[in-house]
Amino acid sequence: MPTLKRLSFSELHARCADGLNLRLGPFVMRLVGRDRRLAQCLYDYYPDYPLAPDDSFADGEIRLLGQSLVARALRRPLCLGLEDGVPFTECAPGALLAHLEWAINWCVASRAHHYLMLHAAVIERNGHALLLPGQPGAGKSTLCAWLIHRGWRLLSDEFTLIRDRELTIDPLPRLIPLKNESIALIRERVPAATFGPCIPGTRKGTVSHLSPPLDHLRRMDQTARPRWVVFPQYDADASPEFSALHPAECFSQLTQNAFNYTLLGQEAFERAGALTDAVDAWRLRYCNLQQAEALLNALTGGSPTC
């Protein structure tokens, strides 16, 4: 399947005006806008994502609404809308990437109810998936960003998509939004990593998006099965610690963590129960990435990857 970078900028700009279908894991997002800034954002930060055919069903449509010359001259915010034409979010031009990603998140979280969707990062090695659920601030994105450069494959930083009762997990490898101190930390530890711009002043502080490794994008159709669930908690003052989680607590945490548990009802109850039975569950408290990696390697039987 061709990727976005096969298009020249002018071709991409023309396609965006009519609507460009981008494939993100199992989903197709239709991105529409004549404004060159949308095409530029895609050109800069999504070059290795596959294009879906023009006639594909789109799971969501995100439009960069047109601006008049006066609005441009007055530096009015950009406005993203969904297919119903209702404005969804406004942003400064420099924050377009962050808002586009959030709009995609909203489309997935509010529509993909054929999945049990957990708010959890998920990475894979040897076909076995490690789920990292966490409340904001727990450090799951930072840990995930580190581990995908240490021998694990990114399935998703935000959504664990459980397709069926066999617990098939569909990858959704997206840009990883690192926040505040985590940006410099990963830049320093992973010099080869590719980042988007630093976007200050968001609800979560300064955000910068880390691009997934190319190989992880190429493997976005390779599913995995859950083997471990680890609830991470970053604590700068703590000594590292792993503690086993009772299955009942694991089940309870997973159901509270799901985006659509209540909506799916019985199906979610059964999938979450099957997931609990299928995994070893742990809490991980850590104060630096190398410690966390070492503990996770000990748990998962892996070896450090340089």
Binding site: H246, A248, F251, T262, G265, Q266, F269, T276
Partner: protein, 101 residues
């Protein structure tokens, strides 16, 4: 078995309840198909539901059943715990009092 006072309500498992279960050791989760709610129940709550499986029971009868099951002697704390459990499960729609005889 003690005779229940005539004014003491009897309890029954809600006949319309439609529950799915998950269990890990003595931790139980019941998914209520009617409400869509998931309830965490401990062993005591499940024992109470089991005691009501055969039909409506008074608090005395439920207490007797649980004491026999565990080979324990009556005490006020146990009785109060069972009464609390019934109240909580009633608020969840899992059991309900039925009119006095």
């Amino acid at each position: 078995m003690r005779e229940s006072p005539a004014h003491e309500p009897r309890w029954r498992a809600d006949p319309a309840a439609d529950l799915l279960w998950q269990r890990w050791e003595e931790a139980y989760f019941a998914f209520d198909m009617r409400s869509g709610q998931t309830h965490f129940l401990n062993q005591a709550a499940v024992s109470v539901l089991a005691a009501l499986a055969a039909g409506p029971q008074s608090l005395d009868a439920i207490e007797d059943a649980l004491l026999r099951q565990h080979g324990a002697e009556p005490d006020s704390a146990t009785r109060e715990a069972i009464a609390d459990t019934l109240r909580v499960m009633s608020s969840l729609g899992l059991v309900e009092p039925i009119p006095s005889r």
